[in-house]
Subunit: 160 residues, 2 copies
DNA sequence: TGCAACCTTTACGTAAACGTCAATGTTGGC
DNA sequence: GCCAACATTGACGTTTACGTAAAGGTTGCA
């Protein structure tokens, strides 16, 4: 029996790799590499095996790029974060399908532990950044004060 | 056994590379590499060309390590930050040795611009991290609520 | 003075995160 | 049904940030 599946190649909301790359600011090579190391898989493949990405793939790619560029995480760390997310999903499933209150509680405690560790980790990074920002702002204030002390602008000081 | 008196050549407060490495939690190789790419130079060399590090070198190495491990900066970025710091130092010098108010003002405006860009940069990273922390904390609260709803601990849950 | 435990430079090896061909297949408009 | 523009899977090249080994010099204690 032939399954008349959603014909991926027809859906205009699916992007080919170059379009997806342009959309999120990556290169096709990077996206393929992320797939190679298990960070994501395209939602579908065309008849001729072209990778096709849907909206959630795009979000995921944006997430990865953000962590890489903005937060400076390695792909391994990003993989860990994504893996944690999947683990949470699985745990929710386990939790829902469990009847034993002791087991349900154990699942929650486990999840709580992991989240705590993750928060600790992120906080550490954030604190380091915060103190760098503080220092920079202190310098900024110092400079601004000096500048104010010198009187105003050099050329056109007066506003008509 | 001998009392291992770590006398470095002249000044006992100068550390050889392995001691410095142990002190800050790096390897000698890394320190040499940082020197190779221009991140620091040892305060002195012994008669036989051993690298000798003083207290300010150690601080600098700690700084580098912190940025690398905690904040996830690349060595190139760290180099940029250290370079900025040296540029600030030079600018202060230029500023002090200048008489012309217009030039002094220009120097300050320039410095202010650079600091602003740096702050912008750091803020971006910090915001990304902050939102990740928020999400994690939301999950944490959610889990904690569920846990509380299940009734209390299985064993000894007395908190202080 | 001897020598073990450091250190030096030089150089090749490696893992991560891609860049860049090359050979070949797919799509879609005319 | 043709063909330019895209895609595929290798496979090798590159940069960063070191690890590691080799060949030899230095230090300092016995």
């Amino acid at each position: 029996m032939t399954t008349a599946q959603t014909r991926a190649s027809d859906d205009p909301r699916l992007l080919r790799i170059q379009e997806a790359a342009a959309e999120v600011g990556l290169t096709p090579r990077s996206i393929r590499y992320y797939e190679e190391v298990g960070l994501l898989e395209p939602a579908a493949r065309s008849e001729g095996a072209y990778r096709l990405y849907d909206e959630s793939d795009i979000e995921r790619l944006r997430f990865i790029r953000g962590l890489r560029d903005d937060a400076g995480f390695s792909l391994a760390q990003i993989g860990q974060l994504l893996e944690d997310e999947r683990a949470r999903e699985r745990n929710r499933e386990r939790f829902r399908s469990s009847e034993d209150p002791r087991e349900r509680r154990a699942i929650l405690v486990d999840a709580l532990d992991r989240v705590d560790r993750q928060i600790e980790n992120l906080r550490h990074k954030a604190e380091r950044l915060a103190s760098m920002i503080d220092e920079a702002e202190a310098r900024r204030r110092h400079l601004a004060d000096h500048l104010a002390g010198l009187g105003d602008a050099p050329k056109a000081t007066r506003k008509r």
